[in-house]
Amino acid sequence: MLRAMPGPGPARRPTTDAAVVSQDIVRLPVPEQLLVPLLRGRQRVTVAAGDRVMAGEIIVAPVDDHAVGALAPLDVVVSGERTIGTATALVLAPLAGALPGPVLPPPGDDPAALIRRVRAAGVRGYGGGGFPTFLKLREGRERAIRCLVINAVECEPELASDAALLADDAVGVLAGARAAARAAGATRIVLATAHPDTASATMLSGQGVEVLGIEAGYPGGDERMLAPHVTERRLATGERPTAAGVLVLNVATVHAVGLVAAGLVPCRRFVTVLADGATSRCVVDVVMGTPVSEVLRLVGPAPHDSMTSEGGRMMPRRIEDPSWPVSPTTTGIVVSPSIPTAEQPCIRCGLCVPVCPVDLAPDRIWRALESAATEDARPLGVEACTGCRCCDVVCPSGIALGAAFRRAAADLRESDSMAAAAERARVRFERHEARAQARAERARERRPRRSTGGSRGAVEAIVARARKRRSRSDAGRADLVRHDRSGPGDDE
């Protein structure tokens, strides 16, 4: 068993003890409505309102190279589409109260077939990132990775979703790991966990999985922090773990890949519900697509004037509309009172620098952003910010640094894509111009072959020749022939 050192961060804040027993998990039933969020322009709905769809059929198809699709998790009737906030979701009405068993033939051992099915089923990162898993598996294959890391570190304090999955279905996780390793070409499987002494970890260890114990602390679950523990190579800023021969997948993602390999449609996930003032945290086993408001209704009341967020307390993603559904990225649901925060100016104390897990200097990046010089933040590495908010926690002025850095990184990406589009347009224009110029050149080259004096000169020359012929015809015909051959006015 490997032992690893924790990364930097605020004082070692231990994650809660995740000795979650299967009986403590609340199993929520299939809801009356399932919502499938859609990415406009990148996904295309393949069914129409009123259609009756069988479990396993395609309901959403990807449009571009990086998008995923979606399969019906059970027999449903398509109700239509619905707008939630600024996004659209497909609304399905389940026809049964229970989820079916395997509905599709297993994709088999061919890695490409498994990757295709993973894409069609819409499997994305279950750890909160939501990155399309098929792209990661494919990249792992292309970069010839050797090691697959099952990420069960779950460093967000108080979240126990991954721990619940490991406790509940370690066998499924193992099957998924083997399938994912086959698809990506890995020969070594490592389980990264903060609780290496649980029964599940021991079972996996006995089945050939290396167990890597990570000291509990925040942050610690980021794949870039895990990769150096299993390889000798340290990642450069912006480099992904696949560059070092390592593919890191969240444990629930791995489990989902296992379900796909068995011919099932992944449709449930464990979610930790944290509510201020509630008795304790609660782990639920919920069907993805269930509205968050439904989960909260079944689990506990949400107080007035409260804020609902997806994720954990350290990296929450605010949910504006509570009918937003549980999706692969919903690791937790946090209900907290909305308290306005008072921000003081940055005093450049520098306390944020030692706690950054990706070695950035938040004080300098903040300075650049304060003066609206977002471009200056690029060489400082703002795009590598993971949004862990360790700097927020230690900042004596209470500045929301993490959120500001993520916004800045998004702004930089947007300006980059606009610049790239402008560049493409410029190149197209220049080529168009060059073609037009070449056409004009060719046209000009052809014209000198015609008469230089124009048509009038030609007529006059013909008249002059005719006069000459008549005058010579009186002189004698033999001379005429000779003169005619070398006559003036010959334009050719």
Partner: protein, 289 residues
């Protein structure tokens, strides 16, 4: 900021013990002057006054100026210096977090240059044995004038008991606590002391200056190391840049003391180093820690 004020208590007590209770009045005058100036300026702006004035930075400026100014000076000197430091040293540059110069040193330098006579004389320390002396030369004054006296062939009165090392120790005590609770950057404090010791050591070896320990323990070096140079706003970002910045201030302090026109060069040395801050940050700061 409250922790900085707490850390100044040992020094306040030590200075009061050495020079009498009027030290506390100077500190009070400085704090009042600073707070009044702060509230006036903030009320001209758009930020909520109670929130912004509550950060305690003005109080720290005022307290430091009060401690740096001799108790024999009129109280309005402290108040004026503190107010000037807050207004010109901080708010003129954009308020908290934006000032390139240390506000306490800006205020002190202004008063020093404007009212040199009022700042010139420190009281004779209690227990110095001079019954009829009200003022006496500080050891730095003595050091300064000893050379001149030697040339002129007159004797110089050297005080028997010297309170300054004890005062310095009191500053160091409070300062060490600040570093331990991470309210002050140890690299800045250490850098200043290192700069002083190295420069004084070199000069001493060349027989051109006093020994390093003398420089370290007298005057405002220890106060400066833990409370003045550690102002994070006017220091460059980055560990390497901060070390060089603080060492430069230390070196300049000794240089001004030995070759310049003032007995204690700390204030001007800090201001000069502040002026170099942005360049140091750009050259030595790097893009990360």
């Amino acid at each position: 900021m409250v922790r900085v004020l707490l850390a100044l208590l040992p020094a306040l007590l030590a200075q009061s013990a050495a020079f009498g209770p009027w030290v506390a009045m100077q500190v009070l005058a400085g704090v009042m002057g600073a707070l009044i100036a702060e509230v006036v300026v903030l009320s001209l702006g758009q930020r909520s006054v109670p929130v912004a004035a509550g950060d305690g930075s003005a109080a720290v400026t005022g307290a430091l100026i009060g401690l740096c100014i001799t108790p024999l000076a009129p109280l309005w000197v402290s108040a004026a210096g503190a107010a000037a430091g807050v207004v010109i040293g901080k708010h003129a540059y954009g308020g908290l977090g934006r000032n390139p110069f240390n506000p306490a040193m800006v205020g002190y330098a202004l008063v020093l240059v404007s009212f040199p006579a009022h700042l010139g004389s420190w009281p004779a320390a209690v227990g110095m044995g001079e019954i009829d002396a009200i003022t006496a030369a500080t050891p730095l004054d003595v050091a300064r004038h000893a050379e001149l006296a030697r040339v002129l062939g007159i004797g110089v009165v050297v005080p028997d008991s010297d309170p300054w090392p004890w005062i310095g120790a009191a500053y160091a005590l409070g300062g060490a606590w600040l570093i331990a609770v991470r309210a002050a950057d140890g690299w800045l404090a250490g850098g200043l002391m290192l700069g002083v010791v190295i420069t004084a050591g070199v000069l001493h070896l060349l027989a051109a200056g006093h020994d390093p320990l003398f420089h370290l323990l007298h005057g405002a070096v220890l106060c400066g190391a833990f409370f003045i140079i550690t102002d994070p706003v006017s220091a460059p970002a980055g560990r390497r840049a901060r070390l060089i910045f603080a060492m430069t201030a230390g070196a300049l302090t000794v240089a001004i003391r030995e070759f310049g026109g003032y007995p204690d060069g700390l204030a001007f040395a800090v201001l000069l180093a502040n002026a170099m801050g942005p360049v140091l940050e750009r050259v030595f700061g790097g893009t990360a820690r």
